[in-house]
Each structure stands twice: as structure tokens, then as C-alpha cells.
């Protein structure tokens, strides 16, 4: 026996993990349906609660941006932590750990979570704009905020999912650990969203988001093996 040499590159392996997660979620349907149901419910409640007040635009921009990110964050939070937790709960992590390195698995699951976040945002942001009559003066800037905020949220949630996956009380632990790590992401995301809605390019918050994403990605890459291996 010679043992086959590895031929697929890093991204092909990570994509395989991402595609597998997508296939599982689409076939199970329950998890994805609950995420989008949560987003729809939150949107409906917010539109009923805030819509009738008819606040002037200058008072609305901060409130709208905050509400939008609350909806995006909590919708995503119902699905993102499952990345690694599901592997440990079902016992499939053992086989995956046998064949794939922590960096590959983290990248694949982070990518799946990012695509899931983008799908949530693609449905939630237009619905939010329609239901709350939210005007976005710079859609390109808003798209940049959603992309940068979404990547940071996805990679940090994926990493924390790996960190808590084999712990007891993992759901509580995830919430406690994620709070101090995600608040520094959500604050500049909200600030950048306010400025995007007002037509300004929020350079400083976008730079903060980009720096956060870079630091989070590097930290996840360096620590992936530590949280994945025994």
C-alpha cells in the first residue's frame, strides 16, 4: 500500500466541508426554516412596534440601524453556533477529525456560516427597508458593511462554536463568551450602517470592521488546531 497523495488544495477541502454542511441543512430543513422564521417574526414585530411612530428621518437612522443589526445578529445567532456543536452532538466529529485538519474544517464551516448570513441579510435587509420605510442613500456602502460585518460575525461565531463544542452547557457558554467578542464588531457595524443610510461613506467604522475581520481570521487560523484536536 502506498497511500494516496493529497491532490486537492486547501480551498477545495474547505469547500467540501461547506457543501456538506449545506446539504445537511437543506435536507433537514428544520434548522434553516427556524432561522428564517425567527428573522421574519422579528421583522414583523419591529415593523408593528416602530412603524406607526413616524419619527423624523434624523431620529430614525440610529434606531433603524440598531434594529437591523439586532435582527441580523439574533437571526444568525440561532444558526451560526451549530457549526461544530452539531458535529459533537451527533458524534460525526470523530470521523471528520480523523481526515481533516482544524484549519480546513474551520474555513469550511466559516464559509458556510458566512453564506448563511448573506442569505439571511439578502432577505431581511430589503424586507426591513420596505416594512419600516427605511431609505438607504448609499446601498454600496451598506453592502460593504453587511459583507464585512457578516464575515466577522461568521468567523468569530464559528471559532467559538469549535471552542465550546465539547464543553458542557455549551449554549450558555457560547452566549457568555460571544458577548465581549461580538460587541466590538456590532458597534462599528451599526455606526457604518447609520452613515450609509445618510449617504456618507463611513471610512472609520469600515476600517475598524476590516481590521476586526483580519484579526479574527488570523486568530481563528492560528488557533484552529488547538480547539479542533484532542
Amino acid at each position: 500500500m502506498t497511500g494516496p497523495r493529497a491532490r486537492l488544495g486547501f480551498f477545495s477541502r474547505a469547500w467540501a466541508v461547506c457543501a456538506k454542511d449545506a446539504a445537511q441543512e437543506l435536507r433537514r430543513r428544520v434548522a434553516i426554516a427556524s432561522i428564517f422564521f425567527f428573522a421574519a417574526t422579528a421583522l414583523a414585530l419591529v415593523s408593528y412596534a416602530v412603524g406607526p411612530f413616524g419619527l423624523p428621518p434624523e431620529a430614525r437612522s440610529s434606531l433603524d440601524a440598531s434594529l437591523l443589526w439586532i435582527i441580523l445578529f439574533f437571526s444568525a445567532a440561532t444558526g451560526l453556533p451549530r457549526a461544530f456543536v452539531r458535529e459533537e452532538e451527533t458524534g460525526t466529529g470523530l470521523g471528520l477529525r480523523k481526515v481533516a485538519s482544524g484549519v480546513v474544517v474551520l474555513a469550511g464551516k466559516g464559509l458556510f456560516n458566512f453564506l448563511l448570513f448573506l442569505a439571511i441579510a439578502a432577505l431581511s435587509v430589503p424586507a426591513f427597508a420596505v416594512l419600516l420605510e427605511w431609505r438607504v442613500a448609499s446601498p454600496v456602502a451598506l453592502a460593504a458593511v453587511v459583507l464585512l460585518g457578516g464575515w466577522g460575525l461568521s468567523i468569530v461565531s464559528t471559532f467559538l462554536s469549535a471552542l465550546v463544542a465539547r464543553a458542557g452547557q455549551r449554549n450558555v457558554l457560547f452566549l457568555v463568551v460571544s458577548f465581549p467578542l461580538l460587541v466590538p464588531l456590532l458597534l462599528p457595524a451599526i455606526a457604518a450602517t447609520i452613515q450609509a443610510s445618510e449617504g456618507a461613506v463611513a471610512q472609520t467604522p469600515l476600517r475598524v470592521l476590516a481590521a476586526y475581520d483580519g484579526a479574527a481570521t488570523c486568530a481563528a487560523y492560528l488557533l484552529a488546531a488547538v480547539v479542533w484536536e484532542d
Partner: protein, 217 residues
């Protein structure tokens, strides 16, 4: 033909302070090595350590191919493993599971390879998600997983568990063929239907004298 060798060097594992086993050492390069012992003696833990799935409290594992020690990353593919707590993605079919593991390991998922892996364990006709598989079918899939990447070293923990007679024969054939080419490590309470071991490691309960029980046959 590449020659492979697996060596355990003074392996000790403890979870709660008291060693499950201590100072287990052996080297094996071809044929079957059997790990035997009563329930709770640490057979499964020892096999997982050899597979790189658990870290020993003390000691180390060395895997060589043609005299060169393999890195931890190379050992992922060079050492095939299956055990009773290996589970598969319930929403995916058997071939989808194996193709995924191949791709995640870095090898192209070639349908013919997957079909032959499944045929070797009698699962070539199995369709539908793994969630609908019987206990025996899941065990056959575990064996297929162990041989999926054409490993240099094969580690099988309770390989005959839950299998019917044709399943046990299929595993016997695979183990016999693998043992002709390189090291095969088996942990099982009953080895009657498998090729006879060349070496036996006995793990007594508590394990302090494990490794002294090594014997050749």
C-alpha cells in the same frame, strides 16, 4: 511496495489521575497485532491514541513509511481507523458520506473508488440516507471508512460488532489482504473469524503491567 511500521513508545493514558494503562510499548510492521483485555481496560482509548484521535498522557506514537517517520498530517491519511463510536452524517447516503470524507481529506471523490469501497463491505446496493441503515450496515460503513484512503496502517476497534456472517467474512477478507501488505491492529473480544495475530498486547484492568503481556504467536 512501501513498507509501513507503527510503534507505541511507553504510552500512558489517564483521565482521572489513575492510569487507564501505563507504559504500553510495541512495534509492528506486518500482519495482525491484537489488543485484548477486559472491558474498561482501555482498548478503545489505546486504538484512538494510535489513530491520532486522542493524545496520550505520556509517551508517543511513531508511524513510518519506508523508514521515514510520518508527520501528524501525513498520519491522518496513512492510518485508517474505525471504532464503535464513529458515526456518519445521517442525512447523507453511504456514498455521499465516503465521498465527503475523501474530499475533506484532500483526495478527489471518484465514483468508481467509492463504489468499490462500498462493494468490498457489501454495501454496493445500499441507497437512502445513513439514518435508515441497520446496525450491521452502519458497521460495514465504518469498515469502509477505515480502508477509504488506502492506508498504510489499519486500526480496527471491534470490527465484527453487529455484523452477520457475510459481513464478518467480508471484514476477514479485508483484514487478511491488509495484513499481507502492512500492519493491522485489532481490538476485539473475539478474534476467531479474523486472521491469527502475529503479536498480542494484553491490557489488564488498571493497565499498570500492560505491554509486559506482549507475546508473539
Amino acid at each position: 511496495m512501501a513498507s509501513a511500521r507503527i510503534e507505541a513508545i511507553a504510552l500512558t493514558k489517564s483521565f482521572t489521575g489513575r492510569p487507564l494503562f501505563a507504559d504500553v510499548s510495541f512495534a509492528h510492521d506486518r500482519g495482525v497485532l491484537a489488543i485484548v483485555g477486559p472491558n474498561g481496560s482501555g482498548k478503545t482509548t489505546l486504538v484512538k491514541i494510535l489513530a491520532g484521535l486522542l493524545t496520550p498522557t505520556k509517551g508517543s506514537v511513531r508511524v513510518e513509511r519506508e523508514g521515514r517517520e510520518l508527520s501528524a498530517e501525513e498520519r491522518r491519511f496513512a492510518v485508517g481507523w474505525s471504532g464503535p463510536d464513529l458515526t456518519f452524517y445521517p442525512e447523507l447516503t453511504a456514498s455521499e458520506n465516503l465521498e465527503f470524507f475523501r474530499k475533506a481529506a484532500g483526495f478527489p471523490a471518484i465514483g468508481e473508488d467509492t463504489r468499490s469501497s462500498l462493494a468490498a463491505v457489501g454495501l454496493d446496493g445500499a441507497s437512502g440516507p445513513v439514518d435508515h441503515f441497520s446496525t450491521g450496515m452502519k458497521q460495514r460503513l465504518r469498515i469502509a471508512f477505515a480502508f477509504l484512503l488506502d492506508p498504510d496502517v489499519v486500526l480496527l476497534d471491534e470490527p465484527l460488532s453487529g455484523l452477520d456472517a457475510p459481513g464478518r467474512q467480508a471484514v476477514g477478507r479485508l483484514v487478511g489482504a491488509a495484513a499481507e501488505r502492512g500492519p493491522v491492529v485489532l481490538a476485539a473480544p473475539d478474534l476467531k473469524e479474523l486472521p491469527p495475530p502475529k503479536q498480542v498486547i494484553e491490557l489488564p484492568t488498571g493497565g499498570r503491567d500492560a505491554g509486559r503481556g506482549t507475546r508473539g504467536t
